[in-house]
């Protein structure tokens, strides 16, 4: 009768990297790592498309929406401003009356990190208090501070004694 072996499988050095006990196993196989990389990349790619689709959808909705009246002429004095929401309640906008016959309107979100910008009539600028970003009140172009992109402008028209805005990427003056 053969003598039983002490240990059926001698402990080899490579076993330290691939241990049988689950508690000692901390090794990620190439297959698992590849799977992780693949799925993460796919998630990022899918996320990019989702974000792009949302932006396009929002833009399409803004351009298709009808002109809305946001203020009457005597409501905003020259050098004054008025906040309103357009096209949805989530989009804060600001209407400026730079001269008695000159209105402009911008999205109120700073193009740096979305803080609301405020009208500084003395300097004819829109100022973002968060990181001291400044925009030209005439055309919404970034003039100082962290923001590099212009504020999104809305098309403004005046008729029937009221100010009307409509979504547009064009610069709006009236």
């Amino acid at each position: 009768m053969p003598k039983p072996t002490e240990r059926p499988f001698p402990l080899r050095r490579w076993r330290q990297d691939f241990p049988v006990p689950l508690g000692e196993d901390s090794y990620a196989t190439r297959r698992e790592f590849t799977k992780f990389l693949g799925l993460t990349s796919f998630a990022f790619l899918a996320g990019t498309f989702v974000a792009a689709a949302r932006k396009l959808w929002k833009h399409a909705r803004a351009t298709q929406s009808d002109a809305v009246s946001v203020a009457s002429l005597d409501e905003v004095p020259a050098g004054g401003s008025k906040l309103f929401r357009y096209p949805t309640d989530d989009d804060a906008c600001i209407l400026l009356r730079l001269a008695p016959d000159k209105f402009v309107a911008f999205n109120q979100n700073c193009t740096h990190l979305n803080c609301p910008v405020h009208f500084d009539a003395a300097n004819s600028q829109l100022a973002c208090p968060c990181h001291h970003g400044f925009f030209n009140a005439e055309d919404g172009k970034a003039v100082a501070g962290p923001p590099r992109r212009s504020l999104a402008a809305l098309a403004v028209t005046v008729h029937d004694g009221r100010v009307w805005v409509q979504g547009s990427s064009e610069r709006g003056t009236a």
Binding site: M1, P2, P4, T5, E6, R7, P8, F9, F18, V20, P21, L22, G23, D25, Y27, T29, R31, E32, K35
Partner: protein, 217 residues
């Protein structure tokens, strides 16, 4: 964790071949519809003897040792688990290596499947599915004292297959004089029926080892 006193005992001589264990295994939520154990027919032409094949949970499992994909793991409670799905490459090394014939390769899912002693049940203090349904208690899960009190046989957990010795967590009931079961694989190969040991005789009747020794000589 399994209760400190509860252990798994297999007594093939009590098996009546009803396959209730296999059916019960299929019912399990974690692998619904697919049994991780099977019933072995010893030699259908000459005997009605059958044997339930559940994993013996070796202390140093051959299946895990030969797995090239590092897919078979043993937990602290000594249970050797089924393949880790993301790792198993379906090579069937484990199927060939296991001396008890436990792991099975399932081509449909390209995975090895083996008994894991219902870790989802035993870890919360329940008995394995097969042991709960076995009508003849060929599969028994409970305290050692109960087995020693109720059975004539002795639970064996040391095996010798040729030059390969194994110590298992699950215990096989055998004759009272036996401490270790030695198998010469060649005796069980097809065509060697004339020298085949009757497992039922070996486990029920005292002196079974003498029969085996006589055959070995």
């Amino acid at each position: 964790m399994i209760g400190a006193n509860d252990q798994f005992f297999i007594d093939p001589s009590r098996c009546i071949g009803c396959e209730a264990c296999v059916a019960a295994c299929m019912e399990c939520d974690t692998h619904r519809g697919r049994s991780m154990i099977h019933l072995e027919f010893i030699d259908r032409s000459s005997t009605t003897q059958t044997g339930p094949v559940v994993c013996m949970h070796c202390e140093d499992p051959a299946c895990a040792q030969v797995c090239p994909a590092d897919a078979i793991k043993q937990t602290e409670d000594g249970i050797v688990h089924s393949s880790i799905k993301s790792r198993c490459i379906g090579c069937s090394n484990c199927v060939l290596a296991c001396p008890f014939g436990v792991p099975h390769y399932v081509a449909a899912i390209d995975q090895m499947v083996k008994c894991d002693m219902c870790f989802d049940r035993t870890s919360i203090g329940k008995k394995p599915m097969c042991a709960t349904v076995c009508p003849s208690q060929a599969l028994y899960f409970g305290p050692m004292e109960d087995v020693m009190r109720m059975r004539r046989e002795r639970p064996i957990q040391e095996f010798q297959f040729g030059e390969q010795g194994l110590r298992t967590k699950v215990k096989l009931m055998s004759s009272p004089e036996t401490n270790r079961l030695d198998y010469d694989i060649m005796e069980f190969m097809p065509g060697a029926a004339s020298t085949m040991v009757d497992i039922a005789d070996l486990s029920i009747w005292t002196g079974g080892m003498e029969v085996l020794s006589a055959k070995a000589d």
